[in-house]
Symmetry: C2
């Protein structure tokens, strides 16, 4: 019943609050720059409480980056056509659209170089923004082989992805009243990324 769902919401509330607080701090200070204590203090609970909900600090990060990563992965696994500027634009729009359920903070976390560097290992982010850059650069060069990518295309794609992240990050700071990942903002992000990529 409605009472039950309310109770369930309460029950999982702390977990969600941990993720919200942690993602904000990770985005602001980086992963290594944020301690478990920082997170628990910001929430007004003890460290031990966090460890009831998550097995480790890495586990918290995993839960945060999981959504944006699988969103991006999901679009990439469709192996879309990237042969034209219009197709690439659609691809970018799909990526942003897939991330619409993510919070901007969970995306901003990827600015931390350390998080991007957590390759393959336990957290299989595998430098998701790098993967994105290389994919787009490969499309510009018309090859799937990273070794054959034209250097300038790699530079351009990296700039486009970095700019996209910056827009996501700055948007809700510049427009505090706007819904996060609104239609307006996603269109703007796609425009920006596409313009840099196809310049």
């Amino acid at each position: 019943m409605s009472t039950d769902t309310a109770v369930d919401a309460r029950r999982t509330d702390t977990r969600e609050r941990i993720l919200a607080t942690a993602s904000g701090l990770f985005a602001e200070r980086g992963f290594a720059g944020t301690s478990i204590r920082d997170i628990s203090d910001a929430l007004g609970v003890t460290k031990a409480a966090l460890y009831y909900h998550f097995a480790s600090k890495d586990d918290i990060l995993r839960a945060i980056v999981d959504q944006p990563i699988s969103a991006i992965r999901g679009v990439m696994e469709l192996e879309p056509d990237l042969g034209s500027a219009a197709a690439r634009r659609q691809f970018i729009a799909d990526i942003i659209g897939a991330m619409a359920d993510c919070t901007p903070e969970s995306v901003a976390v990827f600015k931390d170089p350390q998080i991007q560097a957590m390759v393959g290992a336990e957290i299989s982010a595998s430098g998701i923004t790098n993967v994105l850059s290389i994919t787009l650069a490969g499309a510009l060069s018309g090859t799937a082989d990273p070794a054959q990518i034209e250097p300038e295309h790699l530079v351009r794609a990296s700039a486009a992805v970095a700019a996209g992240l910056a827009v996501i990050d700055t948007w809700h700071l510049a427009f505090p009243d706007t819904a996060k990942f609104s239609e307006e903002s996603t269109a703007y992000i796609v425009d920006t990324v596409s313009a840099i990529l196809e310049r």
Copy 2:
């Protein structure tokens, strides 16, 4: 004599090697994600040796970010005219030109959100990339008052600065044989930043 200069070079060599190694690691793993031990191991010396050359870990960071920060500050203190697109383009070119003596690693360090957040305090970076973004956004809005900046201009300026950082970072990765901050690369950076800013 030439022998003396060679000896002098030897003498200061370790300090420079520390900075080179540290900036590379900071850029790769972030500041908090890099320990003194990481740096000393990479250099093949002990931690104590580092503390002979630098008073603290913060001190190492300070020495690294000092050059790019004063380069940017130096250009900004000229209070250049930013009233037209051409003037802003010249301003960007001046900034990049002033950074020509810096290593790309020392610039890439600014990707770490923690380093950017070290505001005012001891290390007075005061979010130098944010300052740059706000300056450019203010120019677009035709105001010096941050409160009067149009939100869209802030978003655009942030994207431009982030893209510029990405180009600096990716360039020598994409063109390993090119001299860092060569004429060709600086022109490309200016073009990229300017195009995004004036879009």
